[in-house]
Every structure is written in structure tokens, then in C-alpha cells.
Symmetry: C2
Subunit: 435 residues, 2 copies
Amino acid sequence: MVPHLTTSLTGPLQELERIVLDQRPEIERWFRTQWLEHEVPFYASVDLRNSGFKLAPVDTNLFPGGFNNLNPEFLPLCVHAAMSAVQRICPDTRRFLLVPENHTRNLNYLQNVAVLRRILEGAGFEVRIGSLIPELAGPMEVETSAGEKLLLEPLQRRGNRVGVEGFDPCAILNNNDLSAGIPAILRGIEQPVVPPLVAGWSTRRKSHHFHVYDRVAEDFAKLIGIDPWVINPAFSQCGKVNFSEKEGEDCLAANVEFVLNEVREKYAQYNITEQPFCIVKADAGTYGMGIMTVKSVDDVRNLNRKTRNKMSVIKEGQPVHEVIIQEGVYTFESVDGAVAEPVVYMMDHFVVGGFYRVHTERGVDENLNSPGAKFAPLAFETNCHTPDCAGKPGDPPNRFYTYGVVARLANLAAALEVEELVERDAAPEARAANA
Amino acid sequence: MVPHLTTSLTGPLQELERIVLDQRPEIERWFRTQWLEHEVPFYASVDLRNSGFKLAPVDTNLFPGGFNNLNPEFLPLCVHAAMSAVQRICPDTRRFLLVPENHTRNLNYLQNVAVLRRILEGAGFEVRIGSLIPELAGPMEVETSAGEKLLLEPLQRRGNRVGVEGFDPCAILNNNDLSAGIPAILRGIEQPVVPPLVAGWSTRRKSHHFHVYDRVAEDFAKLIGIDPWVINPAFSQCGKVNFSEKEGEDCLAANVEFVLNEVREKYAQYNITEQPFCIVKADAGTYGMGIMTVKSVDDVRNLNRKTRNKMSVIKEGQPVHEVIIQEGVYTFESVDGAVAEPVVYMMDHFVVGGFYRVHTERGVDENLNSPGAKFAPLAFETNCHTPDCAGKPGDPPNRFYTYGVVARLANLAAALEVEELVERDAAPEARAANA
């Protein structure tokens, strides 16, 4: 079952799909040469929005937490991709330590951890789960939403190595987004950690990602001859806001106005009659926390107490001082009348699957990934690498292929972004600051 | 549906499966480090025989012709594997030329070509089919067993490049085993050809492959602590036979005796009560031509005219002068009483599927791949990379994983073998001889 696109497919997006299908050999060659120069992230997921006239990434997650939502038939794709990634990163590895988020009551998240463990085991590794939960005194068995058992074991540090009791891993796969900062126990260890610690949300910024994405989208648009706006949401940022103290409102208002104006111009150019909107998000935020929809400058001038509270603190109680103001992209895909947002999963160079967040209680202009919000995952029914070039744009394999291409652009931006973060971290002043 | 193993699983093979499952991380690490040092073949298929007490490769094909027999659900695995292979071999490639066998009436073979084309297209290439058929004056459309259309176009040479009319490919995927020799049109071209031309049957020898496999099996057996015989068929060779002239009979008899004695000793050691046999095959043979089953020295002393004729000429009318005498491995797998022989398909580092040759008219000690012989392909129902370590040896995913491991050993041997062929070809005396 594939969501219905409730907009007429006559706008620029159908053109995009047709162009992407026609230029596939060129596109795939371009990706191959990019990956010769840049190290692809071990894994990533990308939230896309599809308005019919625009298909753009709105969030790129380097610690993806929904592998349990993928079509289980594609698990072998994940296993092969993991084998390929490890072949490049650390071929001499036998034992992997998986470091998950600290949630123990989010049973769906735990099932994601179980699937990740299965993928690594499928690729031929011994896997143990090392937890960062501070109060964890000994091994704790938890049960996932699918009834699988996981043993969370306290991380142990010995010299420059981490592990768990009786298990010295050769590499660490991190699935904890490090919102609260890089924990001391993981700093300066000699084992390879993927993704690198600096890719965590204590150092990563959405605005940085989308600055890099600007360049990637520009290059790609030039390659296939399209307006980069069709795949790239406009954005701006504010560095000093404090929602609870009502500070930074002018900066926010000015940048909202700036982004809305950009969108208005583009809508006019393409005869799009929808109302422009933008999304204000914590620049280091995740889990759909610290996010609001804004349709006019007035919306940020008159924030009520509830919204200000919602915006001021995100995951792990981190205060919000930096925000990104991103062009809102309508979601005009729906399943039985409910709004649907595609999420694409990648591992190594490969798109390994995806699913739709299907949401009955949300509007087409709202974020569908929010805390406590219930969504029904709808796994993509075909993979993203075998388009039917004889078929029409909008046919599922072709739509999914196009989704895969745009998601891979975001993944490439993430690769460049992480490269810059690693370089910055290796610079003498950064080393001194971290010491 | 999985073939029934008609032998009790109490012999060394169950032990092999258990050991392979237990030592998976060590095995996968070993393969990864091997592939750092050696270039994996683009694709390969390996015929295995499973006697319950022995699981061994009996033939390794570097121009596999049965991709149409694989479970179509695993096509995405092939696409990913092809993407991975090309990323390593020739990332700048956009256009692939596929060079098939010259058969135009073997509709199943043509369907194999159609599937290969789909895999390459899935990996994002433009694909055209360049035929070596000498009398092909212009493009010829043929229809495959599944009703797909293929356009065979005459190969064209321009300077140091080959292509077809209006199509200059960046690389060539060869699916023609070059039994008749390396055609002049392909010699010395600047485009990469995979597999290398020297991997064709005009230069390749089965005995060379199994000499190399001896080393690989030895190393692997040491790694996991087993008797290498369990995964390695004994063999010998004769360099100067002429079946039609009854020449070389003494050499053949002596080597049959040698191989049978080796097998007798091993059968005695493991209390195996079956009758030892061996298979005499053309050393450069393929398509199941030039093969006979031999149970005693007398069998090669009293060859009738019909057998001598059958043995004297193989594909493309090539005369047979070199033979390999290989330990026969019983096939004790069966489907509804018919003999079944597993064939494992690999692409890049990955096992991408497999099928059983199920044969109602053949015995457990006969070759199941023979000209005109009808077999029903039975696709493996699970992939070969996700064993269920909690399950029993003999459970399908576990048996398939073990098949995948043994097939990858043969693939590794093929990699070393091709390396040696390429080196030999690059040596000054070889260059002079080829000039």
C-alpha cells in the first residue's frame, strides 16, 4: 500500500521525477565519485516532505532509531550494507559494541536496538549492548515491543578502551545521539566509534547541515538541470534566543520574515496558491522536541506561555538558545485521509528501506515527529534502487527511487558536515577546549 | 521448500555446520581481511555437492548463466552488490556493455542475460548488449523464456575501444566464457573488462582452480579447526589425453587409482560405507560437457566409442587433451525423490542467492549440469547471510549460510587463480606469445 499524493502531479515535482529517472546513469555516477572523496556515514535516516511541487529533506538523523519500522524483507539489504561498511571502516573487527539511547521504557526504540543487533550479527559480528545509563549497576534485561530480550550492560572503561564485562569490542556503533554531550567514558578511546562522537547533537547543528546541503543541492541541481529550490528548503537561523525570557524575538521575527519572503517569491514563480509557512526548530534538537509551525511574523511575536515552555527545553533537558527557521514543506501525501511523511533509511552507500509516518491527528503543515505523538509506520513496499523506468512518474518504485536520491543528497551533506566537524575537533584550539 | 537431506546428520557435516555457525565472527573477519588483499570476482557461481558427510565445491563458474533461476525477491541484493562492485572497479562508469554467450536459441540463457541487464540498470547504468556472434550483421531482437525482449547488437571496434552502434561503453561485463579463445575484437582494449579476459576457458583450467582451492581450504580448515577434506574434493590431472585416439589411458588409469585410493582412506577413517567414485572432466570444460563418472580403473580402460566421442570434444568444438580427475561427492539432497545439487551465486563480496538443480533422471553420483539435461531450478528460499544461530544445524538458513561460506571459499580461490592468470599474462614471454 502506497500513500496517495493528494495533489495533482502536474507541477515541478513530476518534472523532477521524470528528470531523475532519465538521468539515472549520470546521477549514480555522480554519487559514486562523491563517495570516492567523502566517507559515507555508517547509517542515517532522512525525513522528507513531499508537497507535489517540492520534495525536500527536512531533517537528517545520524543516529536513526526506527530500523524496526522497515519492511523486514529488506533485512538482508541492511546486512549486506553493514558488511560493506565494516569492510571499509574496520575490516579486522569481530566484536561490536552497540551503544543505545538511555530509554528503557520506549519499547519501540528497544525493538530498533534489537533489529540493529540482528543486522550486525547478520554481518557476522559478536554484539553486546553497552549502556550509558548512569545508575545502571549491573546487566539489566529489558523486553522490546516485539517481545525480544535485550541485555543492557554498563559500559566499562579500561585504559583507552571501552567494553562491557568480559567483552573487549573492536569497534563501537553508537545509536545514542549524545544530546547531553560526549560522555567522559567515550572520550579519547582507541577503538573506532561510528558515527564519530562529534556527530552527536552536543556539537552538531541543523543549520550547519543545511548550509552544507545548500552546496550539495546546488551541485546536484546543476548536474541534472533543475531549480535547486525544488529539493531544498530555504532556511535561516538565530543564535541567541531565550524563549522563557522572551529574548531574541526580533531576530526570530526578522528571520521568519526573510524565509517567508523567499517562499512567497518561489510560490509566485510556480503559481502555487498554498500559504507559505515555516518551521522554527531548536538547532541542536531531536526527537521532534522544540518545534513549532509559524505562518506569519505575528506568530512569533505573540507566543503564549505554553509554546514558550515547549520551545525552551529539549531532550536531556538541554536549554534552547539557537534555532533554525526552515521553510515549511507541505505534506500532500496521505493514507486514508491521514497525513503521511516519508522517512528514508540508509546504511553505507545504500538506501536500505523506509517507511511513512502516518498521522491522523496532524495537519499538512505540522511536524509529524513529535514527542508522544502516535504515528503508524507504513513500511515502503518496494526497495529504492530498482525504479521501473518504463513506468510513469508517481509509480511506487519510481517515487521511492526519487525519494532515495533526495535522501542520499542529504546523506552526502551529512558526510561533508561530519568531515568538517572532525576537522574542527582536530584543530589545536578545539583540542585545548576539550582537554 | 527446501530439499531433504536423505542422510543422517550425524557425520562430520553436522559438525561442520555447528563449527561454522559457532565461529561466524572469526570466519567473517577472515573473509574481510582476505578481500583486502585480493580482488573479488565481479560475479561467480559455485556448484556444491552435499553428501551429508562432505560439503564441497565441484565447479566454479566465473561467467554465471543462471541469474534467472534466483529468487526474484533477492534482486535488490544483486543490485546493491553490483553497485558495490562498480564503486571499487570503475566508479566513473555510466554505460555498461554486456557481452553474452552466442546462444540465441537457449531461451533460459537469454533470460539470464535479461536479469543481468536489469541488475546493471538497477545499479544505475545504461546497458546495451554487444554480441560476439560472427555472422551478426545488424541488431537482432530475441525473446527470452520469460517473454522479455533483448536487442543483440554486433560488437564494433574503434581504435582501442569496443562498443555497439552509437554507444561507447565505459566498461564491459563479460558473460561469455571465451571457450573458443579470446576474440581479437576484445584484445588490448582500453575499457575495463570484468572478469578479465584471461579468466575465460581458453586460459583457465579447473585443475589450477582446485590447486589454489587446496591452499584456501587448508587455511580455512586450520582457522576453524576441521579436516580440510570435509570441504575439499581430492583431485589429480592428466595433461595429454586423446579419447578418440585412445591416447593417455595409462595416465588416466593411474590418476583415477590415486584419487580413488585417497577417497577410500578417508571413507575408512570416517566409517563411510558408500562406494568411492570420481568424475573425469575436461580441464577447460564447461556447460557440463566432457564429463564422466568413474568407479574403478576398469571404467577408463574400457571406454566404448560413444563415451570416447562424448569426452573428446567440448563447447565450441574444442578438443579435449587435459582432464581433471576429481573425487566424486555424492549428492544426498533430494526433492520429492529427485536428486538436488545446490548452486550458489555471488556478486562482489556477497552471496546474492542460489538454487537447486533438481534432476529426476540422474543418480546421486552423476553430474547434474549436462547438455540438454533438464533440471528444475528451485530457488533458495532464504538468503545466505542471516543464519539463525539459535536454530539447529540443517535448518534452512543455517544450511544456506554454510553453503555460502563454502561457496565463498571457492570464490576466494577463483580470485587468487585470476590474479595468477593476470600476472602470467603480464609476464614478458606471455606478452610476446600473445602479440
